[in-house]
Amino acid sequence: MLWLWISIGGVALLGIVFVLGYNRLVRLRNEVDTGWANIDVQLQRRADLIPNLVETVRGYAAHERGVFEEVTRARTALQQAGTPGAAADANEGLTAALGRLFAVAEAYPDLKASENFLQLQDDLTDTEDKISAARRYYNATVMRLNTSVQSFPWLLFARALGFREREFFSAQGDTAVPQVTLSR
């Protein structure tokens, strides 16, 4: 009789542990999804600023066609990127292309003084800051999810339950992933 109770208690305890752990994984996964949505919003915002910027610069420097094409191509690549890693790579690519565009703009004082251009430049800087903020949150949530999924005992059935490790938002050769973890 005693053994029966002990085993019932043990099963109940296991059940509780399982439910708590499962709910935790669900929460972590939702956090990752929210984090990714945050990045996506900002990437989209950045991409939306590009056509306007290209048009503005074209108004002053119509013959710099190569740079415009490069920026437009980088923008398309960003919009088509399917995974966080690819998006991060494409985002880096866009940054590089924009760098060249701004370098070209340096040669046109009228353009540099244009209200519209300054506003766009300001908006772009803001978007870049927001991408890096959103990325910090996203990468932290991915780190938490991955750690849980890779730890025992979830290691054994996380996959079967539909929890997978997620990809960090970091470009190739990017070493900014390690996070400072303090007392949490």
């Binding site: 400072v180 007392s183 949490r184």
Partner: protein
């Protein structure tokens, strides 16, 4: 302690604060009832209850009023609003808190609001005028951490309750001292009541202070994580500790809300007795907080602060 555990523990503490508040209120009402008139005691209780509920609903504007924080048009202070926005994104808050400005030369900041979606961050003009961008961001991240950890929820409730107790005790004290109705009561009861009325607000204060000073360490750690830059947080705290400006409106009723206790300095000057009792300290010393960050982040602050250009106001 994870974020979820911290939020849960704050909910539990909020429950304890409510119970403690009700007990304290009953005590004050009983004093009024004994010393003056039983019906007065009941009246005081009803008044406090109604006032407390209204105050809780009005807490947003009430705390802003106590701290003299004014709402600003986001367009007017765009760089600051953007900084707050970025920090909230990095913290994973769903809604960016409003920014409010306190006209004061002392650098300080606070956060308030019952719910994360309806919270705001207040900063003094002194903070904007003295802090470089990197450190200002650290302070904002500290405040946003408070919002995320639901510290603001707990603190807002405690602020309102302590205010109610102080008000009711004050009314009772005045009624006895000036009302002359203590004829009914014996001299002993009157003395006990007066002592009780004087002590009640401090009891409320103690109740509020006891809400774990650890939340400050947690908010510092949270800020370091949000920015991935513990050194910025430590630098900001060091700059606060080196600043000698005393806040002009230092007010015990909102002291616990600020990033650096605004009353510690004032209290040590104006109310020597209080400063001696470290129970009343709302915050752990800044140097202890800096040391905790140094240890966790594995760095040492330089002796001299970087002379970066202040963010500006």
């Amino acid at each position: 302690m994870t974020l979820q555990e911290q939020i849960r523990s704050n909910r539990l503490r909020s429950g304890i604060v409510v119970v403690g508040f009700v007990l304290l209120l009953l005590f004050v009402a009983a004093l009024i009832g004994l010393a003056l008139d039983l019906s007065l005691g009941v009246l005081a209780l009803a008044f406090a209850g109604v006032y407390g509920i209204i105050a809780l609903f009005q807490s947003r504007s009430m705390i802003a009023g106590m701290a003299r924080a004014q709402a600003v048009d986001p367009g007017e202070l765009k760089p600051l609003s953007r900084l707050v926005e970025n920090v909230s994104i990095a913290a994973g808050l769903a809604v960016t808190p409003e920014v409010r400005i306190v006209e004061d030369d002392a650098p300080n900041a606070f956060a308030a609001g019952l719910r994360p979606e309806k919270s705001y961050v207040g900063v003094t003009t002194g903070l904007l005028a003295k802090m470089p961008k990197r450190e200002l961001e650290a302070i904002l991240a500290h405040e946003v951490s408070h919002i995320r950890n639901r510290d603001t929820y707990l603190m807002t409730m405690a602020t309102v309750f302590a205010g109610v107790i102080a008000l009711v005790a004050d009314i009772g004290f005045r009624a006895i001292a000036y009302g002359g109705r203590s004829r009914r009561a014996g001299a002993l009861v009157a003395v006990v009541a007066i002592v009780g009325f004087i002590l009640a607000p401090y009891a409320a204060l103690l109740l509020r202070m006891s809400l774990s000073r650890r939340r400050e360490f947690l908010a510092d750690a949270g800020a370091a994580e949000i920015l991935n830059d513990p050194e910025a947080v430590a630098l900001a705290l060091r700059r606060l500790s080196l600043d000698e400006t005393t806040i002009t409106y230092a007010d015990a009723s909102t002291a616990h809300l600020w990033v650096e206790s605004p009353t510690d300095r004032v209290e040590s000057e104006r109310r020597g007795v209080l400063a001696l009792t470290s129970w009343f300290n709302t915050h752990p010393p800044l140097e202890v907080r800096i040391a905790a960050l140094e240890e966790a982040g594995g760095f040492r602050l330089p002796d001299r602060l970087p002379a970066d250009e202040p963010f500006g106001y």
